[in-house]
Symmetry: C2
Subunit: 138 residues, 2 copies
DNA sequence: ACTATTTAGTCAAGCTGCTTGACTAAATTT
DNA sequence: AAATTTAGTCAAGCAGCTTGACTAAATAGT
């Protein structure tokens, strides 16, 4: 319960910070998509794999992000079937907002725990096997 | 991401252990209901509050658990409007299975981390403010 | 005391995010 | 050059949740 509560607090805290920075039309689930798209973009299939959903569902999520101006569909450089989903300027701005928000939450935790204990938690969790996919829906 | 991954691993691990013990008709969300019902039962409204959903949704969950034989609806001892949801023998058996399964996961983590480091994580998380409600759906 | 309001629970309808199934076009394998 | 696989979309359906409306019991107001 402690672990689940902490995870909830983290997700909700980041979400709240992102909202406070003006991105009010996104839900936490979109953040997980941004994580995959941020570095160099990704295809719908890659996004689906990352989110642990079908490619149809991932395509719908992508549609929504395109419609709201966070993502752009570009032709794929090497595969004419595929399309590369990449962040727009707005998408990058939102990503930065999420990073700042996450830092705020972690700073609060560092204040409560001390930096050493927080680093200890991080080190411990990193030693546990963690699934590549994030499936937040139970 | 480490925290979310660990939470996912924990939930999925417990769920898998419960399934392996023969309770194949439940999802992790039901486990959160059991947590609230286990000690002395609860009303639909209390369950709704615990799960962070409307009482209509909690009532549907209760219906399902009744239909599957895990929960019983009894008249409330002091309030004729309310009905007390209590676990059946099968419900208690499932609760025990979940406890065993959780112990297994934690034992695996203790093997990976050492008992001291695991206890440290537990102590650190307990110092962070944790919401009473578990909202697993992002 | 008796009226007014709140509270516990259910019924009904609707929405959202996901699923399965079917399909086209491009890439890859044989 | 044909057969198969892969990327993506369209369409329909489902599960779990929501809002809204209602009944009956408890509680509050005067």
């Amino acid at each position: 319960m402690l672990l689940l509560g902490a995870a909830s607090t983290l997700v909700d805290g980041i979400h709240e910070g992102v909202r406070a920075r003006g991105f009010t039309d996104l839900r936490p689930a979109h953040g997980f998509a941004f994580v995959r798209l941020a570095p160099d973009g990704a295809t719908v299939a890659e996004l689906a794999d990352h989110l642990g959903v079908t490619k149809q569902a991932a395509s719908q999520t992508a549609d929504e992000l395109v419609r709201k101006g966070y993502v752009e569909r570009r032709p794929h450089p090497t595969d004419a079937r595929a399309r590369l989903l990449v962040l727009t300027a707005r998408g990058w701005a939102c990503t930065r907002a999420a990073d700042e928000s996450a830092e705020e939450v972690l700073r609060a935790w560092a204040d409560a725990l001390g930096p050493d204990q927080l680093a200890g938690v991080r080190a411990a969790l990193s030693r546990l096997a963690v699934p590549g996919r994030i499936r937040p829906t139970w």
